[in-house]
Symmetry: C3
Subunit: 137 residues, 3 copies
């Protein structure tokens, strides 16, 4: 069985946001068993899986990734879309724009401490679209 | 339905190359709906999804990733395969060697501004093989 | 056909470990053709695909990634779980916790030089669980 549809997340401020519950509610009803592919349809944001407990983890993600990949690095030539755009593209490919997550008994099968993050890299962010493919039985 | 086959990309010079059209033409005919898994069969190159418009983005990828992960870092001990080999392995794992992309109505479902990049990290690059799995209906 | 089950890897010391054979033996019997999704159920380790030959590659991964993402970066605020925890979370998202690998004729279809690495980021590591989904025919 294949189910495919698009979901839209409201604009989130720049940073790392735990969106597991938003995602799960958008996916209902899930298929029983199989895989969920979540494809973020943008190149200046990312999806990743990380710790779902201490919000400080998300703050450290924001500060560290900004140091690792600074806005307006002096060598960037793609600067026309703003100081946060080229850094956003790099972060998007380094963290990844797509996730494939198991579904078991109608639920996403994540580890106890795992949650889904929306990583928003733009200063003035907009809605973000995710294309969902559920495949299984 | 499952279709599996190998495709070969011609040698591309070191850098980031927009290969969406090459990939799409190699995949025809696509299945109707499902997922395409593209597995690059190499450890010194990568596949990623990023901006398909301004070629300067790909130039900035090359210059920034070379700063982040320099050839011949002074601590590398795996130097026997050349100054660009260990850096290539690191970049390959950081950007990823595999993509899973939705297929809808016989087309790859990417965002408006998304394209597929071949990231070639070797100075003297050769052909690159991708193993394709199409799964769906 | 869908087969789903959990496998447990014994504790591995901090570092990068070639685990292709361990994984393959845990997956038997594989389905004939399709995809294997390996979802590491943790946020302080990762799975990646890289060179399966020279063990020095894995040593360079450990030393370089430790320089890129240092333990106890001075700006980290999530320090309660130890000096290696926040760096582990970052590495896990940068390298990725999940792999989707083709299966052909009952075998994982990897390139000649590709192997599966368990990337263990914690100083005092424990067992690691991987949730496996095999989908195909």
């Amino acid at each position: 069985m294949i189910k495919q549809f698009e979901i839209t997340l409201p604009a989130h401020r720049r940073g790392y946001h735990l969106i597991t519950n938003e995602i799960v509610s958008c996916l209902q009803p899930l298929i029983k068993n199989g895989l969920a592919n979540l494809m973020l349809l943008h190149t200046s944001a990312a999806l990743t899986i990380n710790e779902n407990a201490d919000p400080d983890v998300r703050i450290d993600f924001e500060s560290f990734m900004n140091k690792l990949i600074p806005d307006l690095d002096k060598d960037f030539i793609h600067t026309i879309e703003g100081p946060d755009d080229m850094s956003a593209h790099l972060k998007s490919s380094i963290l990844g724009a797509s996730l494939t997550i198991p579904i078991v008994n109608g639920k996403l099968r994540l580890g106890t401490w795992q949650g889904i993050y929306l990583c928003e890299f733009r200063n003035h962010a907009t809605e973000r679209k995710i294309f969902v493919t559920l495949m299984g039985e």
